[in-house]
């Protein structure tokens, strides 16, 4: 008897969707790890899996919230500082029953207020907590918004190429169309508005209604920080073309150069004043998974809506309510991230020291990796201005490409597999992120603390495989960790 759920009768959208970050390379790496090989997972931005320590203060607060009976114990002050105790009490008072009760489907109102205040401090404009929804990680928020926008296959979403494959995967799952716009590697992964117009026109010519535009700022996998001028152009473009702007800003704390600090899309929009500031529809996403917090496993995130009409907000709320509420501990992490210890607090110095330590280390590694890649033959790597990734381009010789074609694999997949077998370094091929035709790349993150060793190990000389270079490049992206580091595999 044929099974009721067979590969053949599965939802097509599921079959078509791809998510390379945990795809072929990751699965192969996990297999090798099971066989006893030492693997360094650099496929996903997962800092704690590669040794980055959690910040102390939030962990103290959440532990107290988990076990409120501790708060009544006279000895609690022996292992928890007074400000953590106070903060835990504050958070518990915001809930309707501690960590174990479903909260408001949008998230705890008190935490959303903290988020709004953070946004106001950051941008200089007030933010409405009613338009902020906390989610189980930013990914869930992205899916919720895309689900609201995409009605069918003729709805298109503009997505940067290369992109973080959550977007392509989600659009596919939701049955929409991905409309790519290409970032220009030679212009520091910059965006050319004319290219954008062209992408939109081509899509419309094919009968696609372009509904939204995704920007990832700082970029993933590319790491570039958008300039104010670029952001303005994008905002005007979206306004003219009637697109919702989706601003993935999860790496806003990860900035490794001083020329282009992070400026939120919302701030640029509001600076531009009416009418555009009151008309352009924007949804901004943030998370506790990145920055210097790196609390991926907590699944804490939010989205903030600007200029979305009340009835539409109601519908988005309705869908959120079906899942009842985002996880409460993750919400508290978010509250702590946007409202951390202040000068004068007992834990302030420790908090600053730990945060700075992580950021400075990330900045150092950004330089080391970029310089390291650029010192390899046939490898070109833009500096990582932000985020957590290197996306080097490797020019792969024709013989390697031939070998790959014979195996039925994309050349960058072959390169990454060989790199994995030779060095134990698990990366993600650039084809997983999308790239310009004729270019191939792979992704490597640097969460590992021992980068010099990493680079020596990687020894990425195409000459290892072949003789003469040709004009095919690889993009190597590295993420700060792997699927649970040593837990990779089934």
């Amino acid at each position: 008897m044929s099974k009721p759920l067979d590969y053949e009768n599965l939802n097509e959208n599921v079959k078509k969707c791809q998510y390379a970050v945990r795809g072929e390379l990751y699965l192969r790496a996990s297999e090798l790890q099971k066989e006893g090989k030492k693997i360094i997972f650099t496929n996903v931005g997962n800092p704690h899996a590669l040794g980055q320590k959690p910040l102390t203060f939030p962990r103290q607060v959440i532990a107290l919230c988990q076990a409120p009976f501790l708060l009544d114990d006279p000895n609690v002050g022996l292992i928890f500082p007074a400000d953590a105790i106070a903060r835990a009490k504050q958070f518990l008072a915001m809930t309707s029953g501690g960590l174990g009760a479903y909260s408001d489907s949008r998230g705890i109102p008190g935490v959303r207020k903290e988020v709004a205040e953070f946004i106001e401090r950051r941008d200089g404009y007030p933010s409405d907590p009613e338009l902020i929804f906390l989610t189980d990680g930013a990914s869930k928020g992205v899916m919720q918004i895309l689900n609201s926008v995409i009605r069918g296959p003729s709805d298109g979403i503009l997505v940067p190429v290369p992109q973080y494959p959550l977007y392509s995967a989600s659009i596919q799952l939701l049955g929409g169309s991905l409309v790519p716009y290409f970032l220009e590697e030679t212009a520091n992964w910059g965006l050319d508005i004319n290219d954008l117009r062209q992408s939109v026109a081509q899509a419309r010519f094919k009968g696609i209604t372009v509904r939204a535009m995704v920007i990832i700022n700082p970029g993933n996998p590319t790491g570039q920080c958008l300039s104010v001028a670029n952001l303005k152009q994008i905002i005007q473009f979206c306004h003219q073309e009637n697109l919702v702007l989706l601003g993935d800003e999860v790496y806003q704390q990860n900035i490794y150069q001083d020329e282009r600090p992070f400026i939120s899309a919302r701030k640029v929009l509001l600076d531009m004043g009416p009418p555009i500031s009151k008309e352009l529809q924007l949804v901004s996403f943030h998370t506790v998974s990145k920055g210097y917090w790196g609390e991926c496993g907590q699944r804490g995130g939010y989205f903030e809506m600007t200029n979305i009409p009340p009835k539409a907000v109601e519908e988005i709320y309705k869908v959120a309510s079906i899942s009842l509420s985002p996880n409460v501990p993750g919400q508290i992490f978010m509250g702590l991230m946007v409202n951390p210890p202040k000068p004068g607090d007992i834990s302030y110095d420790q908090y600053v020291r730990e945060s700075k330590g992580i950021l400075e280390s990330l900045r150092r590694r950004a330089h080391m990796m970029t310089d390291g890649f650029n010192s390899c033959r046939n490898v070109v790597c833009n500096f990582t201005e932000g985020a957590m990734y290197s996306f080097p381009q490797i020019r792969l010789p024709p013989r390697a490409i031939e070998a790959a074609n014979k195996l039925g694999k994309a050349p960058d997949v072959l390169y990454c597999l060989r790199l994995l077998e030779a060095t134990g370094i698990s990366t993600v091929p650039g084809s997983g992120f999308g790239q310009k035709e004729g270019f191939l790349g792979l992704q490597k993150c640097y969460g590992s603390s021992n980068n010099a060793q990493l680079l020596e190990k990687s020894d990425m000389h195409p000459s290892k495989f072949l003789k003469s270079p040709s004009n095919i490049g690889f993009w190597i992206c590295g993420a700060g960790g792997g699927g649970g580091g040593g837990d990779g595999g089934i």
Partner: protein, 533 residues
């Protein structure tokens, strides 16, 4: 088409050069007349799109979003929240002092206490650096400390802040699999487990896999927990209802399943799966073993995936019923991987632990081909993983303290206290409801709800129609405004047409139950007096 376009584009070049300068004064877009004809044509094409509608409005939002409903946090709750605010701003503005939320299975929001041992372990896992401090031993029980060490050893680098394997941490899945085996007497494979942020995301995943179009149907019990109707709507499928029989304690008849299946087929619906909620929500019935065997045979015969929602497995209040998992039933019938596709859902939100806010749960998938399992894994991987703390909690729920463990006695006492209290409250509310005129209420054999049926008088039904509200919603709103008690109208769960119900949880604190009973009784009497004339 091309000739038309370039002709129009040439006309447009002269027309829009003035427009472009007003729109884009601060942009770097070059004026149209300096563009090549091709570029101008492209520019023109981009203006063909009507700009009159905003991108996200009620008119342009995904229609599947508009279609789906979720009454548990729907209209009645919005009204309740407004009333609550009224009471805060203006005490005495209503004939009650507080809102009593009886709409949602959220025990800890109504003062149910969490299980101490679970919270101890979770706190230690959240902040592992205190495990090395001697003072910690004075604050936590020894077996909680030991358990935390065990769990952390299963997490590389003790990094509870790292994304885990997309199915959940392997060691925790091993624990859960052992727990399933201990419960059922049949082995469970950790590779069959997918740990999720609550059971709901796992349900969504299965709907996503199963539903290709509106021609795909999913058999759902009526009344049902509206996650199912909402999820099916969101994924564009068709809900195929099968009616539970209120007269026989919400019995599930195979003949009804067959009848509905055949009707759906004759309407061109390809029925893919059968949802069974056991113990039931909102109906609270616990299936008998014989009934469960019939259901398994039915699914096997008809080639349906059996989706077994078993989140209330620890909530059984009657001595004559017992929970048996569908996994156990299928295996005890001698059916294995080749015979039936079964997905079993469990959650940390219910039972006696009630940890709703943690979002912990799992699905156990058996009887699927490797290709399909790969696709399920891929879906799980797009979201990377579920929250780690919830994963840990799921493993604790499925492997709690045992006889001999230091915390066993206090754990058992806490468990017993919660369960016996739930049973008492169920009985008290059930008796109260049955004493109301025109109301009948089946007993709550399990779960957390009562689903009484009200025989609404014609006058009330007419008044509801005039108010453009479903009659049970009409009743529920009047109840709320008079007493502050929030229940969910039966229409939110669907019911046999022409019958009216509401769902009331058994969760308010025991000391509040008498007040609820008296207020409800008083309201109901007034209601019947008014509408029975």
């Amino acid at each position: 088409m091309r000739r038309f376009v370039s002709h129009k584009a040439r006309n447009l070049i002269t027309k829009t050069s003035t427009i472009s300068s007003t729109i884009c004064s601060s942009s770097t877009i070059s004026p149209l007349n300096s563009l090549s004809p091709a570029a101008a044509a492209l520019r023109f094409l981009s203006t063909l799109h009507p700009h009159s509608m905003d991108s996200i409005t009620i008119d342009t939002i995904n229609p599947k979003v508009l279609k789906c409903e979720y009454a548990v946090r729907g209209e009645i709750v919005t009204i309740a929240q407004k009333l609550q605010q009224d009471l805060k701003d203006n005490p005495g503005s209503h004939p009650f002092d507080e809102i009593l939320y009886c709409n949602i299975g959220n025990p800890q929001s109504l003062a149910q206490q969490p299980i101490t041992f679970f919270r101890e372990v979770l706190a230690l896992c959240d902040h592992p650096s205190i495990l090395d401090k001697s003072e910690t031993q004075g604050l936590f029980s020894a077996d909680a400390i030991e358990r935390a060490f065990q769990i952390l050893d299963q997490i590389p680098g003790r990094a509870t802040g790292a994304y885990s394997h997309s199915q959940g941490i392997k060691g925790l899945r091993d624990t859960i699999a052992s727990g399933i085996e201990a419960r059922d007497g049949f082995p469970a494979d950790p590779n069959d487990l997918f740990l999720t942020d609550g059971a709901s995301p796992a349900v969504h995943m299965m709907m996503q896999l199963l539903i290709r179009s509106e021609n795909d149907g999913i058999l759902c019990p009526i009344p049902q927990y509206p996650l199912y109707s909402a999820s099916i709507a969101l994924h564009g499928g068709t809900l195929v209802p099968y009616y539970l029989d209120e007269q026989t304690g919400w019995g599930l008849e195979i003949s009804e399943l067959e009848h509905q299946l055949n009707t759906a087929k004759s309407n061109g619906i390809d029925v893919r799966a059968l949802v069974v909620i056991n113990p039931g929500n909102p109906t609270g019935q616990v299936l008998g073993e014989a009934n469960q065997r019939e259901i398994v045979e039915f699914c096997k015969k008809e080639g349906l995936v059996l989706l077994a929602d078993e989140v209330y497995q620890e909530n059984v209040y009657v001595p004559d019923k017992k929970f048996h998992s569908f996994k156990k039933i299928t295996r005890s019938m001698g059916y294995g991987e080749k015979d039936i596709s079964l997905v079993s859902f469990q959650s940390v939100s219910k039972g006696f632990y009630g940890e709703c806010g943690k979002r912990g749960g799992y699905m156990e998938i058996t009887g699927f081909s490797p290709e399909v399992r790969e696709q399920i894994y891929k879906l799980a991987s797009v979201n990377l993983c579920s929250n780690i703390s919830g994963q840990i909690l799921a493993s604790l729920v499925m492997s709690p303290p045992k006889v001999g463990d230091e915390s066993y006695e206090s754990f058992s006492a806490e468990k017993e206290a919660v369960l016996s209290s739930l049973a008492r409250r169920a009985q008290a509310l059930q008796d109260a409801l049955n004493s109301l005129e025109g109301v009948t209420c089946n007993r709550a054999e399990g779960a957390m709800y009562l689903f009484p049926r009200i025989n609404l008088p014609d006058k009330a039904i007419k008044a509801a129609e005039e108010a453009k509200t479903a009659p049970d919603a009409f009743y529920a709103k009047l109840l709320l405004n008079a007493t502050g008690i929030v229940v969910v109208p039966g229409s939110g769960f669907r019911q046999v047409p022409g019958t009216w119900h509401f769902r009331c949880t058994i969760l308010p604190q025991e000391e509040k139950i008498p007040a609820i009973v008296s207020r409800l009784t008083e309201f109901h009497k007034k209601f019947m007096d008014e509408f029975c004339g």
